[in-house]
Symmetry: C2
Subunit: 430 residues, 2 copies
């Protein structure tokens, strides 16, 4: 890790810059694939699956038989663990349900908001080296709790045209049964525009690489909602001399192993802890199968020494990390002052991997500073709020003159008349 001591505030922006993810290929390839799938549907999906995933699939919907087969391939212990994680995630997300509150804003004027499930949602589960069945839990469980009517799942096939059994097992456990073996840009296009096989959805969720993220952002300009733009994973840790250096090193590495573009940052006001953490990093790195990836990620990473806990808090809020671990003596107190972060882990016994898998919180979180304006995925992400109002005659009389005056001042006489005509009718009745 690069150690930066007592940086001046005017240099923070530069120091906190995320690795640049620009890639000219993205701007070329993504719109091309999106348009092709929009125009040519399944035929284009199959063509890109051949090209990018190196397998040709005529029917790319996962069959009942494939799911049954997958169930038999997942070991019992892993199944039990996934079930426990599911219970915790369900508990946490169920608590996010809100009840309707009818507000009588003026006598006779009743207004309320109602959470209504988004009818059709699409979940994207990336492929790649590891089978991210935990993401199936994180997206599938709140979608089911929200009671979305149609939940589809897209995930790329491997070269044999198969999906990892743990993904299929988890999908079935959660209650998802519309699963398509399609990945990358072509899957985002299929969910956004619909094909003969894949239904068009109203909102697309899920992490992905540069291409998938760019595809999500572009379809968001054409009628579909997206959960958030997702970038490489990142963690920031605030630590003082009450931290356990081996824990800190383990947390830094657990983020660094995600990818060479992952970013890990350590904030401390106690530079004496750094040698022990560095020593632990070296030691633990040796045992890590994804050592090469982690080493690359650590090259982008920084230990920043600051003057006070207040300054640590300020710089962390400026950075807006996806994950923030607070390993400080007064961690709970400081947690209350966090303004920008995706998910916060308090104290020495709350590793980030708890939230990744099993504590119950969601791991689909805003990266790249998006935590300044975005929430992570939660129950609300699968609902939209509709407002309702009902005015009695008395209610209309109470606010009618206000409507009339304001509409007139905005030069919208039709708006005014919609109140006037009703008030006149009520007067004529009586």
């Amino acid at each position: 890790m690069n150690i930066i001591k007592y940086p001046k505030k005017e240099d923070w922006n530069e120091i906190l810059k995320r690795p640049n993810l620009g890639d000219d290929m993205v701007n070329q390839v993504v719109p091309e694939v999106l348009n092709d799938v929009k125009t040519n549907g399944d035929e284009a999906v199959r063509r890109y699956t051949s090209k990018f995933d190196h397998v040709t699939l005529n029917d790319y919907r996962v069959t009942e038989q494939e799911i049954t087969e997958a169930e038999s391939l997942v070991d019992a212990e892993l199944k039990r663990c996934i079930q426990i994680a599911k219970q915790n995630i369900e508990k946490f997300h169920s608590a996010q349900k809100t009840s309707r509150k009818v507000v009588e804003t003026t006598p006779g004027v009743f207004c309320w908001q109602k959470s209504v499930p988004i009818e059709k949602v699409g979940l994207y589960i990336p492929g790649g080296s590891a089978p991210l069945f935990s993401t199936v839990l994180m997206l599938g469980i709140p979608a089911k709790l929200a009671a979305c009517n149609q939940i589809i799942l897209c995930t790329p096939p491997n070269k044999e045209g198969k999906v990892h059994p743990a993904i299929l097992y988890t999908a079935k456990l959660v209650g998802l049964n519309q699963i398509y073996k399609v990945g990358g840009i072509q899957s985002i296009a299929a969910m956004a525009f619909g094909t003969e096989t894949v239904p068009k959805v109203a909102k697309i969720f899920g992490p992905g690489n540069l291409y998938v993220t760019a595809a999500k952002q572009i379809v968001a300009m054409h009628g579909v909602a997206i959960d958030m733009p997702a970038g490489p994973s990142e963690v920031a840790i605030m630590a003082d001399n009450t931290c356990v250096p081996s824990f800190i090193a383990a947390d830094l590495l657990s983020q660094a192993e995600h990818g060479a573009d992952s970013q890990v940052i350590l904030f401390t006001c106690d530079e004496k802890i750094l040698p022990a953490i560095n020593k632990e990093l070296d030691l633990q790195l040796e045992a890590l199968p994804r050592k090469e990836i982690a080493i690359k990620a650590l090259e982008n990473s920084k230990a920043i020494v600051l003057r006070s806990i207040d300054e640590m808090l300020e710089i962390s809020n400026a950075y807006a990390p996806e994950h923030l671990i607070i390993a400080l003596d007064n961690a709970i107190e400081i947690a209350e002052l966090v303004i920008n972060a995706g998910s916060v882990f308090i104290g020495n016994y709350s590793p980030e991997s708890a939230g990744d898998y099993a504590s119950g919180t969601n791991h689909a979180l805003p990266t790249a500073g998006y935590a300044r304006g975005y929430s992570g995925v939660n129950l609300d992400s699968f609902m939209k709020k509709i407002s309702f109002q009902q005015l009695s005659k008395y209610g209309l009389f109470n606010i009618g003159p206000v409507i009339e005056k304001m509409a007139e001042a905005e030069q919208l006489m039709g708006h005014k008349n919609a109140a006037t005509i009703r008030m006149n009718a009520i007067i004529n009745e009586s």
Copy 2:
């Protein structure tokens, strides 16, 4: 209005199509202006203000003096009405506050979600023919209730370099004091990227024309959140023979007067009501100052006759209108079955203009079918939810093995180790 009787379901999509809003100029002009402001800051803002708003402003921040002057120009009756509307909007949005619920998902594992205000938000209030001071209420009030730290407001100047007094009065009443006389694409760029004068914000709110909407969608790809893509206003009405034709006509016209591209749709299963509504439309049109605009909008508009209330509900949900007025005998019952709409107005005495101004609900709502996946602006729009977790040693022991097993199955051994190393330390302690 074009009358369409008993359309086949397979034709619904075609019938419900929104007017095409394509404009090649948008794709050219918007990226150019955004980049220019990003690079050249205030200088570019001033240049585009000269070009598009036909006025040259050196300092485009609204002064205290301008606000004081504006206050004296708004008549007392309008002030009183704006204050009443403010009270109702505050009441309705205050009721949306949620409290923190700590969930112990597993013994010793404590998780919670906390709503935290978005630190810096930007509100856009369009200029044009009418001063939309009501939108200042709709965006400013929830921003203040959410306790956003910095709330800036951009609105275009007129040719004299002034902002309409009602806008400035309302901004002051709501408690906004950072107001900039800048509109259009250049204002979105200024808020997204920051200039010497305008601070960069994390989320941008507010309606606008095609250019403003495109600008919002593009900056949303570069680190800023936006409330929603906003298109031309629209209303759908479900009516049966218990409706009052003059009220229906007034509501249709109140939407049609917004702009030639506004869309108004009437669903009914009782075609006998149509002649009376048409007669009322002609009558009321005559008295409307914005008659020419309304006539154009009505050309795009449709009265669709359906076989049953169920079918009306189904087609309305497929259309996903911004505003939905339910003028049916069993309006309350039917309202419960609405899946896709921005805001719903129940019964004969709830005109859409009530929600536009004074009932308390928000009028910044998803158009163009976006109600399928988006909420209208509400208190939550100005907050993001951060998740927190704290595990005791006991809690970590309870879920540690689950974390280990799942991380291993995802081939993320660093994630596993962050749990293992802590569990080992606890064992060694005891």
